[in-house]
């Protein structure tokens, strides 16, 4: 039963499993990502960070979470 309730998603190229109807906000919280220091893309669309609690993840979703690092 448990397996049925889970969906596979990809986060920064890595496969992850989450429960169905899992929100993007729950994912960001689980990963302990500080919202003011990141940007999020869902299936190549940039997500307004204010709306992440309303977005439910679906099977096969591709999420990219980026931040600033050192660069020239």
């Amino acid at each position: 039963m448990k397996v049925k309730n889970k969906i596979k998603i990809s986060v920064n190229g890595k496969q992850m499993q989450v429960i169905t109807k899992y929100s993007l906000k729950s994912l960001i919280t689980k990963l302990k990502m500080p919202l003011n220091k990141i940007a999020i893309e869902l299936n190549k669309n940039i997500i307004d960070k204010k709306r992440i609690s309303k977005i439910k993840l679906k099977k096969g979703d591709k999420i990219e979470i980026v931040h600033f690092i050192g660069g020239g």
């Binding site: 890595k14 979470i65 980026v66 931040h67 690092i69 050192g70 660069g71 020239g72």
Partner: protein, 257 residues
Amino acid sequence: MIDKKFKIANKIFKSRLIVGTGKYKNFNECANAIKTSGADMVTVAVRRVNISNKNKARLMDYIDPKKITYLPNTAGCFTAHEAIRTLRLAREIGDWKLVKLEVLGDKKNLFPEMIETLRSTELLTKEGFKVMVYCNDDLLMAKRLVNAGAVAIMPLAAPIGSGLGILNKVNIKIIRNEIKVPVIIDAGIGEASDAVEAMELGCDGVLINTAIAKAKNPILMAEAMRHAVISGRKSFLSGRVKPNILGERSSPQKGII
């Protein structure tokens, strides 16, 4: 003499030295070098967060974007599409509109791909970005970039990270004389004298990363570069003497004993 303000897209910067934040041993060294350099604008790259190490230190914890202007770059992008995607994400992190566009075309030499760069400049400008553009030392292309909306032109002195200094001084001088927006030397600076030279050519600023970060003593080099940029600017403003192949005495002839 009071110098005119160093202004890019209507924003005033105290320092004419812009520093890259890559290649340092750690964030502490990077933050110290930036502080010592006096720079109030730093370039940063946009990359994936490491999701398996949640507690890893972040650049933003060491360099406060409220005090130092972040200039997000598009390093690693080879097409207009990739560059625009990267900068849209950068803008989303914290409403950054001033950006450094860098679209490369040659993986070996890291030379800019100017056709894609020009396209990206147009598209980004239409989206409201203020685009500072890494480019070749080509006047005609620099003019096209300005027409496309570039807020600053950033010609290379030499290939990125090469430390070769300014290879084509004449081209840089011509670009500076003909272009209305700030001209900032980007890439190829090796030592302090190169930065002095860039400023003496009349450039409005210099962007340095590798020369500081990979020096044996990055903090000392950051200090050297700070002085070099100030020194070169003052030298440019002061109006040098005409070069003369004949000797001309500095001490008077009169009263020799």
